[in-house]
Symmetry: D2
Subunit: 110 residues, 4 copies
């Protein structure tokens, strides 16, 4: 595994874990309704990151296409999470999404 791919996989895996944790934590909040869009995007983001990681690890010829879509969904999820400024799980997830988006874009440029 090239060092760059490992760094990309690390960012993808950190984003999966952050999104899964964020969705579960959102469901425990008092005002779950306010978190509904966050939960929806967490689901999409964890799923696309998981698939992208698999394609990258296996050296798929289709990995590049997924990186582009993955970056888009990470951005959407990170933007939504960033709005919930007083929730630590959302702030951590927003940061993981931003790093993953950047790693995907770096992978695209490689």
């Amino acid at each position: 595994m090239h060092a760059q791919n490992q760094s990309l996989l690390d960012a993808l895996n950190a984003c999966i874990a952050a999104c899964e944790h964020c969705a579960s934590a959102c469901l425990q909040e008092d005002d779950v309704k306010m978190m509904a869009r966050c939960i929806s995007l967490d689901r999409d983001c964890a799923d696309i990151c998981a698939l992208t990681a698999r394609f990258v690890a296996r050296g798929s010829e289709h990995a590049q296409h997924l990186l582009s879509e993955c970056a888009e969904i990470c951005k959407a999820c990170g933007d939504e999470c960033a709005k919930h400024t007083h929730m630590q799980h959302c702030q951590e997830c927003a940061e993981a999404c931003r790093r993953c988006e950047q790693a995907c874009r770096a992978g695209l440029a490689a």
Copy 2:
């Protein structure tokens, strides 16, 4: 593909779709908080059904073990969904979970 496996795959795929739809519909409800456990179980149930379907379709030697776990999670999800008697998406999901649980147990006995 044997007819029995196709019937099992159909039940698993119907359960995945019902759980995904139910989770999204729950997030649109006025009282999302009441649906939090339902959404959590929908996630687990769709995920285990999806993996089980893959193992069954590929004829994996480990498919039997997953059928057992899949039946357990379908039961838990179906029981929770069944409680929400006035929500159609939950009732439909409860029915899909029950059928999938039965199909998994039939697959185990085969």
Copy 3:
């Protein structure tokens, strides 16, 4: 679930099962080396179809983007499988891939 979505999900699920079965059957062939690219594409195709089905079933705002990528990978996998004219599992998989590609493109146009 709208009838059109159900038809799309059916095509996606049939393609997942065909790809999984094809990959396993390819691994049982005498000349596995000749099937190596087929097996690789089966993996990618089953994976992208599975994710696309989840996004469609949950009504994700990102489903459209995945449909486009899914159609591309279905085409690549179907073209490869179609080359192996004397293997039934490949011919069945090629047909499932073609139908799924068409269903994805129909979903994109909807």
Copy 4:
């Protein structure tokens, strides 16, 4: 995320990447037929590790059951990979599987 869970997620993610890489590398070998069982187990192992990681990250009540099954499949995959003593990708995968099996069993005992 507790430190123990992070360590478990790291082992699961390393095992996914090793299995995906091993399967792709096996498909490039001259004697693919000899690697057929290894490729099959790599698929199962990467899939169960991926699902287990999702359940652990979301704090699912069903994570424990998956840890048990995941450990079993990691053992089967690691044992098969260990047989191919002159292939680096198999030796690396065998090591990742062994570490992941141990991490799953440690998670079960926790």
